[in-house]
């Protein structure tokens, strides 16, 4: 297999590795794959962690290695976690954003938090259930480092947003 096709086979395998905490999206959807480097039958993958304190990192490492080892023609896999470049929510693909919403998690708004002046909390997130912007931030923090808590005043559902960073 040529390097080029092996590389695309690796990307395909990565597209099948779910985010352990949000299994509806893959590490590719999340934009966590910084780089894939193929030399002969050796593959080096750079993964950009979403949050520094994310406890899913060891799971992601194991899953990425297992998925790539299954690709025919791969002899060795190295996975490196890096903060250079830093992962930001801008890296989530349009597909990833759609899948987050279907999962019930509001995609991040814009490039950073839209803040209420003087309070400093995010002004709104779009409700993943009814699409309303008439929502209120109840907590800038949530059950995982990457989530914030909201309440939708239109459909009266609590929901979580993937925090913009």
């Amino acid at each position: 297999m040529t390097t080029r096709t092996l590389e695309s086979a690796v990307w395909e395998a990565l597209a099948g590795v779910p985010d352990p905490e949000i299994p509806a999206v893959s590490v590719v959807d999340m934009g966590m794959v910084g780089d894939v480097d193929v030399h002969g039958d050796e593959v080096a993958v750079q993964i950009l962690p979403t949050f520094t304190g994310c406890p899913a990192i060891p799971v992601i490492r194991a899953d990425v290695i297992a998925a790539i080892e299954d690709v025919p023609g791969v002899a060795r896999v190295a996975v490196d976690f890096s903060f250079d470049p830093p992962w930001t929510t801008d890296r989530i693909t349009p597909d990833g954003r759609r899948k987050l919403k279907e999962f019930g998690l509001a995609p991040p708004t814009g490039e950073g938090p839209v803040l209420i002046t003087n309070i400093g909390l995010p002004a709104f997130a779009v409700c993943p259930f009814c699409g309303s912007k008439d929502t209120i931030n109840e907590n800038a923090f949530g059950p995982t480092p990457c989530r914030a808590l909201y309440y939708c005043k239109s459909c009266r559902n609590p929901f979580e947003q993937f925090k913009p960073v």
Partner: protein, 278 residues
């Protein structure tokens, strides 16, 4: 690896670990369920930052990040005294949170310019998360300072105490001169302290909170005390037992009795089950 580089990283890591541990003590006990979630999440961030910083040193010295985090004797920790103080009440917790995150932002902003590219990248990433901590701390400071008298009074007392302790975050590091010379610490601790004092006092003053702290510290920083709000007298005394002398030494491994209990709790599992994984 340069000893001076390790000293810069270790002080930062120990601050984040020890304060993260204190924040985590609110899990299950905070006065409001959203704050239980918030402090637990902030704790997770801080301990995550510490973990990454320890890993940075561990990889270069062929040691283990867990051993650095949990396997050292008390005197080998380099955190500032502010981080080890017990949570006490909600006002103290909020005041310490605000002082720490304000000081941390001053320090991290400078460290983005460090000569070590890996540390610079990690610090850049950390700041994107710390922004939420700052917002949280600012929102609470504003809320309590503009609220009823009792909360405001307690907050002011806590600000007196934590301001004096916060200065200890900028004690000179071990090998400080070398760290500055080699570019690991782009801005000396003295200068960082001046920046912190200016930023913190401007923010407190804007909220009508008193900015006068212990005289000696104030003199050192050529700091001019400013007015308090109208609810509290200007001459509100600082709490007993808070003197810069008592709070100095964290960077040199001199800790208070408050760290004994924290260290015992924090390292209990590690000491009793060597090599355990979870």
């Amino acid at each position: 690896m340069s000893e001076a580089f390790a000293s810069v990283v270790l002080a930062l890591a120990d601050d984040e670990l020890v304060l993260g541990h204190r924040h985590s003590e609110w899990t299950g006990w905070a006065p409001h369920i959203e704050e239980d979630v918030a402090f637990s999440s902030i704790a997770q961030d801080e301990i995550g930052h510490a973990g990454n910083l320890y890993t940075l040193i561990a990889r270069r010295t062929e040691t283990d990040a867990d051993a650095l985090a949990l396997g050292r004797a008390k005197a080998h920790y380099r955190h500032a005294t502010l981080c080890e103080r017990p949570n006490r009440d909600w006002a103290y917790t909020l005041a310490r949170h605000w002082m720490y995150d304000t000081a941390d932002d001053v320090r991290l902003e400078a460290l983005q310019g460090t000569a070590d590219p890996e540390l610079a990248a990690l610090v850049t990433k950390m700041r994107r998360e710390e922004r939420y901590h700052l917002l949280h701390a600012d929102a609470w400071l504003r809320r309590v300072s503009q609220g009823p008298v009792e909360g405001r009074t307690r907050l002011i007392e806590a600000l007196h105490e934590t301001f004096a302790d916060a200065v200890g975050l900028f004690e000179p590091l071990e090998h400080e001169e070398m760290a500055v010379k080699e570019g690991w610490l782009p801005v000396p601790s003295d200068e960082l302290r001046t920046r912190f004092m200016a930023r913190a006092s401007a923010a407190l003053d804007e909220l009508g909170l008193p900015t006068d702290i212990h005289t000696r510290v104030a003199e050192q920083a050529e700091f001019v005390a400013s007015s308090s709000g109208d609810l509290i007298a200007d001459d509100e005394p600082a709490a007993e037992g808070v003197t810069p002398d008592a709070t100095a030494g964290g960077r040199a491994g001199r800790h208070t009795g408050d760290f004994d209990q924290l260290w015992d709790d924090m390292t209990f599992t590690y000491r009793n089950h060597p090599g355990a994984t979870w």
